[in-house]
Amino acid sequence: MYEWDFSPVFMNADMLLSGLLNTLKVTGSALAFGIPLGLALALLRLSPRRLLAWPAGFVIEFFRTTPPLVQLFWFFFALPILIQVEMTPYMAATLTFSIQSSAFFAEVFRGGIVSIERGQWEGARAIGMSDAQAMRRIILPQAVKRMIPAFMERAIELMKTTTLVATVSYTDLLFQANELAQKTFRPLEVFTVTALIYFVFIFCFSLLAHRLERRLAVSGETTVH
């Protein structure tokens, strides 16, 4: 029988807790930057002017198609050599995941905006609104409501993706788990507890997301597929 011994884990719970906080920190920051950036990319992509739409399209496709870990390594080890700017691991991680998630958010925005039927646009133009005004006052508010389930899904994905930062010295939960496993020589207990922490956190978050989705469905404003 393997002799389970969770005591080293519990004695160092504060290490794991600080890691969890850092995970939330980088996820939160990436969301805070990624969502507006995604909106900007989506609007550029929808622009009738090719000069704007094509580069935006390329950025979106590039960051959706390349693996996040490759992006992370590039931003961590390659970018600082190119643009002699000092970035802490937190900054580099936030930069990577803001851009990476913005590409996905851009597609969510675009899908939501495009799904609003033409009638809304025509109605807005009939009252004399410009395209920009129509977008801001009529289309976007309706689109955002529909996109909330997809947003929540993306946010959950992001929280899972940020575990990659553990491989580049940012002290998130997984990094702390590695640290603890290597110092206590108890990888089984440490990684089991860590997996459970991630599970409980993300599971609860997705429960909340589902509840929100159901409430939206009741009010008739969703495109659950």
């Binding site: 393997y2 050599i81 491989t167 010295s169």
Partner: protein
């Protein structure tokens, strides 16, 4: 709680219980030496860390390094094959405990490690703790590095990590999975200095072309060792102890080290030796 969630939790609890009752992987009272001879393979822990271990990216073979040479030699002496199993400095101990590897060279005998695995008495070699720092960084003592504004890259859970954490605690220590990542952090300017032992820094400095190698005072010159699994039967430990002593005394260890330097393009005469007596 909805039915779905309750079912999920039931299923998970059942799985957890099942894992708890799983049989233990290792049999206590085993003998590594016998197992190695029976398996006809000596599994040596390796990690990308020239001059100790280096992988040829084209063939995937762990083809050069002092640890590789020593491992092959010990395998030969036992009449078995040499097999390289990739680990990291931080996971080597767990790898020994879970019977993934039989031995790993270049693991220093720290007190924490000595509680979990066995180390032979004979030293493997001697080396000094050093840093590869930015040319414009003012560093001649460890205390110079002990400031919050200094960012030092180091491999996680290595003996360098341990030393820095205890003695240079105020610095901004960034821990990476292994030697290459720590050096890459220095190369990218993410760290002002990378802390390894002198020989790996020589190799890095040679290829990188910039930075200065400094052995901060008080100089930390210490022996390195090799770790083997802790068990009641000490035959393998005795074999390793004997082999290390022989190779050291005969100068073979120093020769393997010089072989690597030459292959890497470094002049052995310009590099500090790994034998205390030659210093």
């Amino acid at each position: 709680m909805t039915m779905n969630r309750r079912h999920t939790l039931t299923g998970l609890a059942a799985t957890g219980l099942g894992l708890m009752l799983a049989p233990h992987a290792l049999a206590q009272g085993s003998s590594s030496l016998a197992a190695i001879k029976q398996r006809r393979v000596l599994r040596v822990g390796v990690t990308q860390a020239p001059p100790w271990y280096s992988k040829d990216p084209r063939t995937g073979e762990w083809s050069s390094g002092l640890g590789v040479s020593m491992g092959k030699s010990m395998a030969n002496a036992l009449g078995v094959k040499f097999e390289a199993v990739e680990v990291t400095w931080g996971t080597a101990i767990a790898a020994l405990q879970s019977n993934k590897i039989d031995i790993m060279y270049m693991l220093d005998a720290t007190p924490e490690r000595a509680q979990a695995v066995d180390f032979p008495k004979a030293p493997l070699l001697f080396y000094s703790l050093a840093v590869l720092a930015r040319d414009d960084l003012n560093v001649s003592t460890w205390e110079d590095l002990n400031q919050a504004s200094v960012r030092i890259a180091v491999p996680q859970a290595s003996s360098m990590d341990r030393f820095l954490s205890e003695n240079v605690g105020k610095a901004n220590i960034q821990r990476f999975p292994g030697n290459p990542e720590a050096i890459a952090a220095f190369q990218a300017g993410r760290a002002d200095a990378v802390c390894l032992f002198h020989p790996p820094l020589l190799a890095a400095r040679q290829r990188l072309g910039r930075g200065k190698i400094v052995v901060p005072t008080p100089a930390q010159s210490q022996p390195s060792s090799a770790a083997v699994r802790r068990e009641d039967n000490k035959d393998f430990l005795a074999f390793v102890d004997d082999a290390l002593l022989t190779h050291y005394k005969s100068g073979q260890t120093q020769k393997w080290y010089e072989e690597f330097l030459v292959g890497f393009g470094l002049d052995p005469k310009a590099s500090p030796p790994v034998m205390k007596e030659m210093l």
